[in-house]
Amino acid sequence: MPAVDLLFNACLSVFLAGAVAGLVSLWRPAGARFLAFGLALCGSLLDIAASVATLAQGSTLLWNLPCGVPVFSWSVRLDPLSAYFCLALGILGAAVSIYSFGYLRDWKKPRNAGALGFFYNLLLLSLVLVFTAANAFFFLVAWEVMALATYCLVSFEHEKEETRQAGVLFLIMSHAGTGLQLIAFLLLAVAAGGLDFSSFHLLASRLPAGEQGAIFVLFFLGFGVKAGIIPIHVWLPAAHPVAPSNISALMSGIVIKAGIYGMARVFFDFFDVPPLWAGILVLAIGVVSALLGVLYALMEHDLKRLLAYHSIENIGIILIGFGAALMFHSLGHPTLAAIALIAGLYHTLNHAIFKCLLFLGAGAVLHATHTRNMEKMGGLIRKMPVTAFCFLIGAVAISGLPPLNGFVSEWLTYQALLAGFGTTQSLTRVMFPLAGALLALTAALAAACFVKAFGITFLALPRSAEAEQARETAFSMRLGMAILAVGCVVLGLGASWFLPVFDPITQQALGVRMSSALVASNGFVISAGSPRSGTISTVGIAASLLLLSIVPVLLWLAWGRRSRRTSGPVWDCGLPGLTAANEYTATAFSKPLRMIFSALYRPRREIQAEFEVSPYYPTAIRFESEIEPAFEKHLYDPIKERILALANRMRALQAGSIHAYLAYIFITLIILLLFGARG
């Protein structure tokens, strides 16, 4: 398709131009944000156009990047799966670029805006290439550029110790993941005799079982680091919050989805029918990530860290869909597998949109109050009404409540899990309803967590002077958030019209098209495979809610008209006047859950009270409470210690004498020669 070709090329060139513009504006900083972020906006729109065209036609674009470096093929392939992820990237890129105009306005050093623009465009460019690279070598190069651009963006505010540490942690873990991918790609390349993705198609399933398993696990872990699955998630809650907020939004929205894209590519393109245990593994990790992600999120009162933990939770939900799809595929139920895959992919896009929205909202709040600590916020719904409303939409969507988009994808996941019970007679089938029950627990805890996040941040009285003086953000920031909020509503209410988008993807992955089965005859109802097995209609729910509001109106007309509204003080138990000190705090809100799950959290608290006359009348109280970071303490610290101990012993090699180093080089050369002669 020449049109798609053109659009896609234009998109890549514009991102490149944006990066160059960012670099140039290091010297002419005045227009940096307009030029760099304006170009990023154009590039994102072109990217949306190219992916929409690809998805609409169900076509595949093949193209070679004129790169000038021989040996490796720099080939790009925009197939429906790639286009779907590019679409998510485009939507987020557009919204975040618009948001960035206002976000960067008040930056003290405008030169930084140029640097940010450079890395930002580079990140978008590398993400497009990650989603579309059709060659293992090219893919890894794009992946590495993405990781480095992300690293630079994470460590952007490097004056702070916390930021530097998070950046380094990200870099190390990201590279460990890339290393695992590299091994898996090499295993495939040896079998295929080439590096092109087209030669990997369905190849993995033809390999011996052991090799198959190794490739699967290596890819799963390699991409899992980027996606943030538990237990290799620790970088995520450290790195996402410290980045500038527009970058956090992009990272949680789409960069972690690069891991999901990689898994989808491997599981449903490189593998034909994966072994059953692979599906079980993915499902189990998905459930664990979802549940632990939300449980850790509940204990956070740093707004951005809380959101980062929710990314882990939602990656878990996506993987529940993927795992179920893999299991159904191995059990020989391609249509069910397609429903589960659609559930996972739909949640990928939904999560991208509402998580990006929530991070942008958190960024706006941070911008206005200069703190990430929820305990110092409050009352912002009156100061920042638009931000509050958008954040509320995101909160309802991420809690999976109807009629917004999170509900649709979670509903599809439940339906797939339920139908899964009938796919096998063995004990494995109990996994499906159990996973469903734990998903229900996850969703309910997420709702609790967002009541806390929204309630403590935006409602009641301001808890600090900063919150008191907060002002609504710039127009462009509100516009960026509003676009995504509309996205949540559209993908929720319009779900039955959106589902045909998945037809070319499931056709390519599993050989079935589901839209005719998933959309019931009248177009606005979604069914789970067949109308008999269960239906929902988000439009119907929204319309009914509107229609039913006649009832309260009638009640008011009949009896309520005499009722008078007056404003009055809140019941404060007889104390003189309610202050912010009377309010419930985020820590108090999550206290019951901290007690109930204390086996997991191992909370520690310390109270010191100073008093003069009697302990009942303290003059000052110091309260400290923390939970044990279980993974860091029990998994990562021992590994870190081993590595440091090993490095200490290796220090003997670094003698500092040039003769010793020459000897090392000589010995290495001889070993290599011997190795070469043998081969």
Partner: protein, 313 residues
């Protein structure tokens, strides 16, 4: 289309009318069991009428969320009520959502109530929100397991299909999986409707209150909407239990005689279930908050056993 609208209207009327009656019946029965005379059977209607005409005080600290919440609570409850079979095995709005939609719609109402609790800035509100969200989160997996057991039996999450499947095999409800799932859902019902031993609906201004703490600042017509919505929520959770597990007396379609017999059966079954609730309420003391997870763990175990026993029978 016309017919469907009429069915929806009829069920809506029944929901609005029967819900306060069930609350009144439970209160009266509880009073009699405690050798009190108690308020009359129709007291809830009088309360609602009185509240609707009263003036209301809106806290100065509250935002628009506080005013929006009563509508959400009321509307989600009646919409969910229209998705559940009541006097016929068909539900008027079954096409718009099955049992999952019902659970999540109630979740939306709860989400808004909890936010409204925090909105006023009173510490009671936050306390109620925190506890309500905790308990409902812990009740959710038990509820889902029980629902899955029923849904798997019917091979559908549509409540009309579930009830029709149950009607088809009249004495199926004596199967162990059904009985265990019933027990699990009954415990969830107790927790979700805020009854003893989880919460006490009859208390105001106690440190142990949960639901009442969230809505402490509401008055007048808004309180009426919340109370009515709460009564409807209780009714529809009871109907969920009744019609999925004891489906007798329900006809597959809508017909005038069918609706009348369905209504008679519904009232009888509601009375029986109310008796069970009242017995539980009067013979138990309220639990400490941190004992409630144990109760819900029991419900979860019962649900898991129900699921496991579908293997055997």
């Amino acid at each position: 289309m016309m017919e469907a609208a009429l069915q929806a209207l009829l069920q809506l009327m029944l929901l609005l009318a029967v819900a306060p009656l069930v609350s009144g019946f439970i209160k009266k029965l509880k009073a009699r069991l405690q050798t009190r005379r108690g308020p009359g059977l129709f007291q809830p209607y009088r309360d609602l009428y009185k509240l609707l005409r009263k003036g209301m005080v809106i806290p100065g600290t509250a935002s628009w969320l506080f005013t929006a919440t009563p509508y959400f609570v009321f509307l989600t409850a009646i919409l969910a009520g229209l998705m559940i079979p009541m006097v016929s095995a068909e539900a008027p709005l079954a096409l718009f959502g099955g049992v999952l939609a019902v659970v999540y719609l109630l979740g939306l109402g709860r989400f808004m109530t909890a936010l409204a609790g925090l909105d006023t800035g009173s510490s009671f509100g936050g306390l109620g929100s925190s506890r309500e969200m905790t308990i409902s989160a812990l009740a959710e997996p038990a509820m889902m397991l029980a629902i899955f057991t029923v849904a798997i039996g019917a091979n559908s999450t549509s409540l009309a299909e579930i009830v029709k499947a149950a009607v088809g095999q009249q004495w199926h409800f004596l199967a162990p999986s059904q009985m265990l799932a019933f027990a699990a859902l009954f415990l969830v019902l107790i927790a979700e409707t805020g009854r003893i031993p989880v919460d006490n609906p009859a208390t105001h201004l106690e440190l142990t209150m949960i639901h009442e703490a969230m809505i402490l600042e509401y008055s007048g017509p808004y309180l009426a909407l919340i109370e009515w919505g709460g009564a409807i929520k209780q009714l529809l959770l009871m109907m969920l239990l009744i019609n999925c597990f004891w489906p007798f007396g329900l006809e597959a379609g809508w017909s005038a005689p069918g609706v009348v017999t369905g209504l008679v059966y519904l009232l009888l079954k509601l009375a029986a279930l109310s008796c069970a609730i009242v017995l539980v309420e009067t013979t138990n003391a309220k639990m400490r908050l941190f004992r409630v997870p144990e109760l819900l763990a029991v419900a979860f175990t019962l649900g898991a056993l129900a699921l496991a026993s579908t293997f055997l029978f």
